[in-house]
């Protein structure tokens, strides 16, 4: 009996540690990719004022989810209220990724500037009850202008 409990506890602990470490590694790799992409697409400017005249719509989207460790931590923090950095960081990364994809789309089409940038966000529920998790969908879009020569 106790052996079984010990095995279950060990398996659960290993899963927890794997999710935590794997999630942290994934987030680190994602941040690295975003830095590289931002450097590569630095010449495509983004503006949100929308006062300039435009030419073509460009858009990109991404769906992201936190790993179980971060999700558990966010649920724990929620008990006390206040700032939930796990979600804030994930949402910021997702927006940055969507933004970079918009820039890449604009560059592929031969443009050097995106004006009137807008975000459309929503949450998606995956599964039900205890096993449900929430994913965040971010769509960035704007009007590309200033076609490169």
């Amino acid at each position: 009996m106790w052996t079984l409990v010990a095995v279950v506890l060990v398996v659960m602990s290993l899963s927890f540690v794997t999710a935590a470490v794997g999630g942290a590694v994934e987030a680190r790799l994602h941040r690295g990719r975003l830095r590289d992409e931002a450097a590569r697409l630095g010449d495509v400017r983004l503006r949100s004022d929308g006062r300039e005249k435009g030419e073509m719509l460009v858009q990109a989207s991404i769906v992201v989810a936190p790993d179980p460790f971060r999700r558990g931590w966010a649920n724990f923090v929620r008990l006390f209220g206040g700032r939930i950095d796990v979600w804030a960081e994930l949402a910021a990364r997702a927006r940055q990724d969507a933004e970079l994809r918009v820039r890449a789309h604009a560059r592929r089409a031969g443009y050097r500037e995106v004006v009137a940038l807008r975000f459309d966000q929503t949450t998606l529920q995956h599964g039900r009850g205890e096993n449900a998790f929430i994913a965040l969908s971010v769509c960035a879009y704007g009007t590309a202008r200033d076609r490169a020569a």
Binding site: A65, P66, D67, R70, Y141, G142
Partner: protein, 122 residues
């Protein structure tokens, strides 16, 4: 991707300029035809759910859902463009996207804008 809509010109369909600004560069708005919209509700399938569930162990991007929502947005834009063509528009100005979860596992994508007739500014 929205840029593929430029191909419509070659397929004998009316080319509609789509922007999310109030004007089009180098063009003037001759006539405003009113609001046009397109929407779609899509649900995930079991296969995508399963793969996304596996990916969720480590968190991060879920490309299956990214692709699904991108397809939904393209479909909604297509419907909006059909609406604009029926009105005789050659441009849609001030486009906006709105997305919401209508049920567990299903999302609605709504896209709307102002249909207009534009012509090159002299």
């Amino acid at each position: 991707m929205i840029e593929t809509y430029t191909d419509n010109h070659h397929n004998g369909r009316v080319f509609v300029i789509v922007v999310n600004t109030e004007t089009v560069e180098g063009m003037r708005t001759v006539r405003v035809l009113g609001l046009v919209s397109g929407s779609t509700v899509r649900a995930r399938n079991v296969g995508r759910d399963f793969v996304a569930g596996l990916r969720n162990i480590l968190g991060g991007e879920l490309p299956e859902y990214t692709e699904l929502l991108q397809e939904s947005r393209n479909e909604a834009v297509d419907r909006m463009l059909e609406h604009a063509r029926r009105l005789g528009a050659n441009a849609v100005l001030g486009l906006r996207f709105a997305t919401t979860s209508v049920a567990a596992g299903a999302s609605e994508v709504l896209v709307y804008g102002t249909a207009a007739v534009v012509e090159p500014a002299r």
